[in-house]
């Protein structure tokens, strides 16, 4: 079995270190705008949870790519091969989780590749809200978010 990013949303403080670490390892610069893990606020920014690619079994991004530019890396992550990607965005519309990204500067798609097996987000998280464990992937946020959107739904 390959390891996956496990999200423990109740431990997230919303400090955004994961986004900083992710962007630094992925792009070489601290630019959260290019992070592929995104901290989502809930209940008017009273709680937070990081959201990222589940490395799903279908790999909708990978099967959709018309030029075979998305492959599976040694860590078992779906990974964009930059010099194959033409920037057609088909993966962004095929991924039903909204975890494909597109960089208008490089004209390439990009996504979580588990940093090749040493995910920077998990390492950077000070509260262990993100861990890298040998376990099947799952919906880590559904129950947490369901509880924490009750108030949102009552607002008018």
């Amino acid at each position: 079995m390959t390891s996956v990013l496990v999200i423990h949303p109740e431990k997230c403080t919303g400090c955004l270190r994961c986004e900083l670490a992710c962007s630094y390892v992925q792009t070489g610069a601290f630019q959260p705008a290019k992070s592929v893990i995104r901290v989502a606020p809930f209940e008017g920014h009273t709680s937070y949870a990081p959201y990222t690619c589940t490395q799903c079994a279908e790999g909708w991004c990978m099967t959709a790519c018309p030029v075979g530019a998305i492959t599976i890396n040694a860590a078992g992550a779906k990974d964009v091969v930059d010099d194959r990607c033409v920037g057609c965005k088909l993966c962004t519309i095929a991924c039903p989780y909204g975890t494909m990204f597109y960089d208008p500067d490089t004209r390439k798609a990009f996504k979580c590749n588990l940093c090749g097996g040493a995910p920077a987000c998990a390492e950077a998280c000070p509260t262990a809200a993100i861990t890298y464990d040998d376990t099947p992937t799952a919906d880590w946020l559904g129950d947490f978010a369901h509880e924490r959107t009750a108030r949102l739904l009552e607002l008018r």
Partner: protein
């Protein structure tokens, strides 16, 4: 068990079928490919046109790869006749190929507006690689290019034409642009955006003829002023390549009618991609979805079934995305369902637009438009697709989204859409990476 597979058509559906047969089969079978062209991806031709990739980059399965996969090829040949009683296909050079089962994946081709001059000099289509080469060879910086037709295909090459330094005018017979991809509100935003980026749009005009004048092309319309330009590109629609199936006994409606296994009315004949009339996932109705993702999914399901598996296909979701001068424009599912409940929101200054269509508390279609530099546009594109594809019950989030159509993410996450989607695979098993297709032994 079929020992001899014949794949007719080397596009996305055909190549995916071949790969999947090799992935799924227990015992090595014989695969023959008939393809009028060397297999390449039509999706990436706009990037060949703008010179951001080399021609070598467009090919999906080189002769070497096909040899590695143990595929016999008839490249440059077209299927001329299918005899479903004799299980034989005759090619345009008279060769006959016998099969145990075969896949019809002959795709579609471009059609030009039926006007005088449509076949003249400097009038192009943009559908095949040959046509792309011709357009690339003809456009010069500061050329004035007229795109006839403002549909999806035209919009895929719009950025490329501009990046080559050409001046662009788009003419469309319908009253607005992108008539089969987005609604009027969206089309108005895109038309204004195009104007801001120096592209002239004339919608609601009927082309009468194309004439030659002093080395230039002159487009004459039923009413309104004529347009003079250097080059005309006709993007006036496509038609399914079905004619050759006359007399084959295969049931044809708008496409080759297939069941949930992608099998046609002839038990040993499958069909996939643009040429197949399969099922629309959202409405359950028979539909031809001439889009790349459907060709890919059809091809894989057909390939698995040809390899002896029993894979049922639930249907395809109509999805389209184009980028127009850094503005993303996408639509999903039943985006034009007149019976759906609708919620929408516009931020005209960005511009950004969301339209959500509902049956009960399930999202059945959506339109999204926003700057491609907005990360949330890209994220919402995927999540809207996930909501439409999964048909997850949104319950109280329906009212929330009606009030806040831009607040997709909390609705997606809290409705536990991820959990609904994680078990979904097209072939009932994890997909394999593109390089992992078993090679011939």
């Amino acid at each position: 068990m079929a020992r001899r597979h014949l794949i007719i058509g080397g596009g996305t559906a055909g190549i995916n079928a071949i790969r999947t047969i090799r992935e799924e089969e227990g015992e090595r079978s014989e695969i023959t490919l008939v393809s009028a062209e060397r297999p390449y991806s039509r999706m990436v031709l706009p990037y060949y046109l703008d010179r951001s990739i080399a021609e070598s980059h467009v090919y999906t399965a080189s002769a070497r790869v096909l040899a590695d996969w143990g595929v016999k090829t008839h490249v440059g040949r077209r299927a001329a006749r299918l005899d479903t009683k004799a299980n034989a296909c005759t090619l345009d050079d008279g060769t006959t190929v016998e099969y145990d089962d075969c896949l019809i994946a002959t795709g579609s081709s471009a059609v030009r507006a039926p006007v005088p001059g449509a076949d003249g000099r400097a009038v192009h289509s943009f559908w095949t690689l040959d046509e792309a080469r011709a357009v690339l060879g003809a456009i010069r910086p500061r050329s004035h290019v007229v795109l006839v037709g403002a549909g999806f295909i035209a919009f895929t090459i719009l950025n490329s034409i501009l990046s080559l330094g050409a001046r662009l005018t788009i003419v469309e017979v319908a009253p607005r642009i992108l008539p089969r991809m987005i609604d009027e509100t969206g089309a108005d935003l895109v038309a204004r955006w195009l104007g801001d980026h120096g592209v002239s749009v004339r919608a609601g005009v009927t082309l009468a003829r194309i004439a030659d004048t002093k080395g230039l092309k002159r487009l004459v319309f039923a009413s309104g002023p004529a347009i003079t330009c250097d080059l005309v590109i006709m993007a006036t629609g496509i038609k399914t390549n079905l004619e050759w199936l006359q007399g084959s006994g295969v049931t044809v409606n708008r496409g080759v009618v297939v069941d949930e296994h992608l099998r046609s009315s002839a038990p040993s004949v499958f069909a996939a991609g643009d040429v197949a009339e399969g099922r629309d996932l959202i409405s359950g109705a028979a539909a031809v979805h001439a889009i790349e993702p459907t060709a890919q999914e059809h091809g894989r399901v057909a390939g698995a079934n040809m390899a002896g598996r029993d894979v049922r296909y639930r249907g395809s979701v109509l999805i389209n995305i184009v980028e127009v001068c850094h503005l993303d424009v996408a639509s999903f599912g039943a985006w034009d369902d007149p019976k759906a409940e609708v919620a929408s929101g516009v931020k005209a200054d960005r511009p950004a637009y969301r339209k959500l269509l509902w049956r009960g508390d399930r999202l059945t279609g959506a339109i999204i438009l926003g700057p491609s530099s907005d990360i949330w546009t890209t994220n919402d594109v995927g999540m809207l697709k996930g909501l439409v594809q999964s048909g997850v019950a949104l319950g109280r989030f329906k009212a929330h989204l009606a009030r806040n159509p831009f607040d997709i993410k909390p609705a997606f996450i809290a409705s536990k859409t991820t959990g609904r989607l994680l078990d979904e695979t097209i072939l009932g098993r994890p997909a394999k990476a593109p390089g992992d297709t078993p090679v011939a032994v």
